[in-house]
Amino acid sequence: MAYGRYALDNTLPTYLCDLTPMKTLYSNKKNTLSWLWLMILTVISTFIGLVLNNKTLFIGTVLFIVFLKGQQIIDVFMELAQAPKFWRRLFLGYVTVLPIIIGFIYIL
């Protein structure tokens, strides 16, 4: 007797197989919204220096935007929001800790 996906593929009608897990976890709409958000954040981070005169605030804002953009890529494009927490935390840790280290180097 077969079990698991092999059993499913061979015993269930198509309309039930369509419920199987490999269906898209993210919709194109979510990807599009994420893309728009990334584009807006990129333009803001490029020109924010024109309105922020304080060096610490400027660097802090630009690096915070790096974190926001990284989070979008990790959670939506890389689809790690639904992955095991260890991997999501590892990658979010990267876009959190690296900008903090860079920020300290520039500000201190």
Partner: protein
């Protein structure tokens, strides 16, 4: 009939739960991505430290870079990544042809990045600036060229998965290769998102 389907539906539900907590792509690719991220983290931190040690040189060097070109490259990489994400959705939906077309669009957008990057290099060479000019340009050429190599490798990977997608060689139970390639491309995008403000903005 209902009693026969019930155990199968339990399996489906369990698999859905697993799918929502599974790592996309191959585990080996994620370790490779982690290794790449570590190398770039060292380069980024090295660049920031060198800037603190040579503040004036770095201010002058950054002034010679074309910020709008950097902005364009960021926008193109984000857009390319977006099309790769759409291609993965299409593949999950079982539409290999559409997925392959979206991957071609992603590569075309990425070629704009390559063209702009090469234009940037050539315009610097025209000003007699190269990798040996000073510490800033050594690091600039080293980091951006290293990143460019990753873009080129990513494009080869995208071509490979586009060909396979076009032949409908991926399916619901065999899509990890596609996901691994897509994840690599998103990593290249993510690295540029840190590189761009570090070299062009701050």
């Amino acid at each position: 009939m209902d009693s026969e389907l019930e155990p199968a539906l339990v399996i489906i539900n369990n698999e859905q739960i697993l799918a929502e907590h599974r790592l996309p792509g191959d585990l080996a690719m994620w370790f490779f991505i982690l290794a790449e991220l570590t190398v770039f983290a060292i380069l980024f931190i090295g660049f920031a430290v060198a800037e603190q040690l040579n503040a004036e040189m770095f201010i002058e060097g950054k002034a010679k870079l074309h910020q709008v070109a950097g902005l364009m490259n960021t926008l193109t990489l984000i857009t390319s990544s977006f099309f790769v994400a759409l291609a993965l959705n299409a593949m999950h939906a079982g539409d290999g042809k559409k997925s392959a077309k979206l991957l071609v669009v992603a590569k075309l957008v990425a070629s704009v990045y390559i063209a702009v990057k090469l234009w940037e290099y050539l315009s610097l060479f025209d000003q007699n600036i190269d990798i040996e000019t000073n510490t800033f340009f050594t690091l600039y050429f080293m980091i951006t060229f290293f990143h460019l190599m990753h873009i080129l490798l990513g494009m080869v990977i995208l071509t490979f998965i586009a060909v396979k997608a076009n032949k409908n060689e991926y399916n619901a139970s065999n899509i990890t290769g596609f996901e691994s390639g897509a994840s690599y491309w998103h990593m290249v995008d993510m690295l540029w998102i840190i590189l761009f403000p570090l070299i062009y903005v701050i």
